[in-house]
């Protein structure tokens, strides 16, 4: 069978962040057991950043590295998101324009909560495998953000936001999918999917999330186990401990994947606590590195964990198989796998993902609270707005390279500008 998977990959996780332990103290959250949740930092979307700026900033270095002929073979742009600002117009049209892609190209967007990035990746991989257009590539951009909004005079700041606020981040992962999978070769057909209707968490209102976090967590754990069992049934000789050198799971917060890992280790391997802890640090630690610094980026999170795994894994001993698990509320989930080579790491590290996280500006709590109020200016349905350079100049100044920002909204049409 022909190879398929990720030819190139990049992450963009914004220009500013907050330290979530400072935020937890600021909000008066119960901090005694906060450490167990394994959260560290979260990216904060500025009013002049949106899912398009995150996505373009992630994809641009990938596209810039292609020849004109290669770029013209991108025949599909799939946006994976739950943060769109239009029910009809696909964000893929903005990506297509801002990245200068050819016109013989399918442009569409998909939604399925946090599973969207993997749903898009598998859709793209199947397009390549179908050979309906031999040699064609697909660009997948998973991009999501959370804007917590506070209206003047409201009391939302004093409400119990529990752990949703510290865990909700912003960012995008761009992936070029082709028959030349230099970064991640998908194990074709090795997929266990598992879904059913459940009302756990959702976005029934623009700019706002609703739902039951506890139900969502329990559903994630159910799905993780059942998706893995289906993967095992389909693939055959699979051992949860020995088959995968590394594990990259959807990471709403670190404590969640730690719980899912512990459950599988107990059930599949009858492992004792000390062995579980060692295994967790060794096989899941690399994937958690970036997730702990960015927060939950919904549809992009599983792929953020994969990028983090590839960047931070020890591949000195040769190729490794990575077991991936994605869960999207509502719900649908998938356990799948692929192989990374030592060269995969070389390719990905050229993107400088860790350095771009280091470059972000740390917001203090006063700046952060002010942003929650100013976010209202860019709420869903905003028709006209001038933005250029109005927010947090320090965040722009912290940039090491050219980045795209939202400049204005003119009759709902979004206009962007490059700032260096």
């Amino acid at each position: 069978m022909m190879p398929v998977g990720i030819e190139a990959m990049n992450v963009f996780a914004g220009t500013s962040y907050v330290d979530v332990s400072k935020l937890a103290v600021h909000r008066g959250l119960e901090t005694a057991r906060f450490e167990n949740l394994l959260m560290k930092e979260k990216t904060v979307a500025l009013p002049d950043e949106d899912p398009v700026t995150f996505g373009v900033n992630a994809a641009k270095p990938i596209i810039d590295a292609l020849s004109e002929e290669e770029r013209d073979r991108i025949e599909m742009v799939i946006t994976a998101t739950e943060s769109a600002f239009d029910f009809g117009k696909s964000m893929s049209t903005y990506f297509h324009s801002l990245l200068g892609l050819g016109r013989n190209c399918r442009l569409f967007e998909i939604k399925v909560a946090c599973y969207s990035g993997v749903a898009a990746l598998q859709t793209a991989a199947n397009f390549v495998l179908s050979q309906t257009s031999p040699g064609a590539k697909a660009l997948v951009i998973a991009t999501d953000l959370t804007r917590f909004m506070v209206a003047e005079g409201g009391d939302a700041l004093s409400e119990d936001w529990s752990f949703a606020e510290p865990s909700g981040g912003a960012g995008a992962v761009a992936m070029l999918v082709s028959d030349n999978p230099k970064v991640f070769q998908i194990d074709v057909g090795a997929s266990g999917y598992y879904g059913h209707e459940v009302m756990d968490t959702c976005r029934p209102l623009p700019d706002s999330e609703a739902g039951n976090a506890e139900l969502s967590l329990l559903s994630y754990l159910d799905c993780c186990e059942n998706a893995f069992l289906e993967y095992q049934r389909r693939v055959g000789d699979v051992d949860f401990v020995d088959t995968f050198g590394y594990l990259a799971f959807h990471t709403p917060f670190g404590g969640m994947v730690k719980g899912a890992h512990r459950n599988l280790m107990r059930k599949m391997a009858k492992a004792r606590p000390a062995a579980i802890e060692e295994d967790f640090q060794r096989r899941m630690g690399p994937g958690l590195t970036y997730c702990r610094r960015v927060g939950n980026v919904m549809g992009a999170t599983t792929m953020l964990s994969l990028a983090s795994t590839i960047d931070n894994a020890d591949l000195s001993g040769g190729a490794q198989r990575v077991g991936c698990f994605s869960y999207g509320s509502g719900c649908c989930s998938e356990f799948f796998s692929g192989v990374v080579q030592p060269e995969s790491q070389t390719h990905l590290r050229r993107m400088g993902i860790a350095a771009s996280l280091d470059d972000r500006y740390e917001l203090d709590m006063a700046q952060y609270d002010l942003l929650l109020k100013s976010n209202d200016a860019v709420r869903f349905g905003t028709r006209n707005l001038e933005l250029a350079g109005t927010t947090v100049p320090e965040a722009r100044a912290s940039l090491g390279r050219e980045r795209l920002f939202l400049k204005r909204i003119d009759e709902f049409h979004r206009e962007y500008e490059w700032i260096s």
Partner: protein
């Protein structure tokens, strides 16, 4: 298995997950949340209890218990039905 035994298992695993509660006298109306268990701790306690009982119940069917007594009853009813 009587509900009381399920209750005792929930208490046992609660103390394992949160050793600081050792010595606490548990009653049915105790809420795990009020005792300081976060959502991950609560899921852990539920999973450990199911394993001790060797029963498989979809975890989503066990969401919504307001206290330890309700959780024990829910697990008991689902494992015998």
């Amino acid at each position: 298995m009587p509900i009381q035994e399920v209750f005792d298992l929930v208490v046992k695993h609660t103390c394992e997950v949160m050793p600081e509660l050792d010595g606490h006298t548990f009653v049915a109306t105790d809420s795990l949340r009020d005792l300081g268990a976060n959502s991950m701790d609560r899921a852990e306690i539920i999973m450990m209890t199911l394993e001790s009982l060797s029963v498989t119940i979809p975890l989503v069917e066990l969401a919504g218990a307001n206290n330890i007594g309700e959780l024990a009853k829910l697990i008991h009813d689902k494992s015998t039905s």
